[in-house]
Symmetry: C2
Subunit: 142 residues, 2 copies
C-alpha cells in the first residue's frame, strides 16, 4: 500500500508535471525505439493512459504489429523517473478519438477529430518501476 | 552526402550539447525499456558511442541477453531529435573500462575503474533517424 501511494504521488508529479513523455516500441526487426511525445491527454490513475498522435507514424505501425510498449517520465533535475510497461492499442474509432481531442488540435488537424491522420493511443499498464535516490522499486499493477 | 553532413551536424548539436540521453533495450519478456543516462563518454562520429554505467542494472542484464539497442537524443525546445539503432556490448575488460573512466568517477566507484560495479557500454550504430520540422530522414550507416 505504501509503495502504491508513492507511485500515485510520483505519477502526479511526473506524468502531470512534465511536458514530455518518452514512448518505447519494438520495431519490425526487434530493435527498441524511442520517441518524445507531449504529455498524456488523459489518465485513469496509472492503469490507463491516453495519448493523441498523428497517423501513420513509425510508432503507430509498430504498435499495430506488436502492442508491447513502455512510457518513461523523467525529472532530470531531481533524478526521479517512472517507467510504465504494458500494451498500447491504436484506436481509430470516433469515441476514442473524441476522448483525446482538445481545443487547438485543429491547428494540426484541420479536418477535426474525424481526420484519418489523427488517432488515439490507449496504454494499459501492467507494471511500474520507480527510480530515485539511486534505487529502484517495482510496483505490479495486475 | 548532404544527409550525412546533416547527421554529423545534428550529432554535434544533440549528442554533445544535451546533458541527457535515453537508452532503449528490450527486456526478457519482449517489452521495450527506457532509461535516462548522462551524455556519452566518447564517440567516434555517430558509428561508435561509449557510455559508462554501474553494474548490475536492468539494462546491462538486457544487453547481455539481447544486444539490440537504441539511443535517443532530444532537444525539446527546438523540436529536433536523433534516434540511433544498433548493438550494445557490455564491456568489462580493463581496456574498455579505462577508456570511459573520468576524473570524478571515484565519488561513485571508490574502487576505481577496476571496480566490478563499473562497466563500459559500447554502442555500434547501424542506422540513424533524424526528426525535425515535422519530417523524418533515415540515414543508414552500414
Amino acid at each position: 500500500m505504501e509503495k502504491r501511494n508513492r507511485l500515485e504521488e510520483l505519477a502526479a508529479e511526473l506524468i502531470d508535471g512534465q511536458n514530455l513523455s518518452f514512448i518505447g516500441s519494438v520495431d519490425e526487426d526487434g530493435y527498441p525505439t524511442i520517441r518524445a511525445m507531449l504529455r498524456p491527454r488523459l489518465r485513469d490513475g496509472v492503469e490507463t493512459i491516453w495519448f493523441s498522435t498523428n497517423n501513420p507514424t513509425d510508432k503507430v505501425r509498430h504498435f499495430q504489429c506488436n502492442a508491447k510498449a513502455c512510457v518513461y517520465f523523467c525529472d532530470s533535475l531531481r533524478f526521479r523517473s517512472l517507467l510504465l510497461k504494458g500494451e498500447m492499442a491504436v484506436r481509430t474509432d470516433p469515441e476514442a478519438k473524441g476522448l483525446v481531442w482538445r481545443e487547438g488540435d485543429e491547428m494540426y488537424y484541420p479536418g477535426g477529430a474525424d481526420s484519418e491522420d489523427y488517432v488515439a493511443l490507449r496504454f494499459r499498464v501492467h507494471s511500474a518501476e520507480i527510480y530515485g535516490n539511486f534505487a529502484k522499486e517495482v510496483v505490479p499493477l495486475d
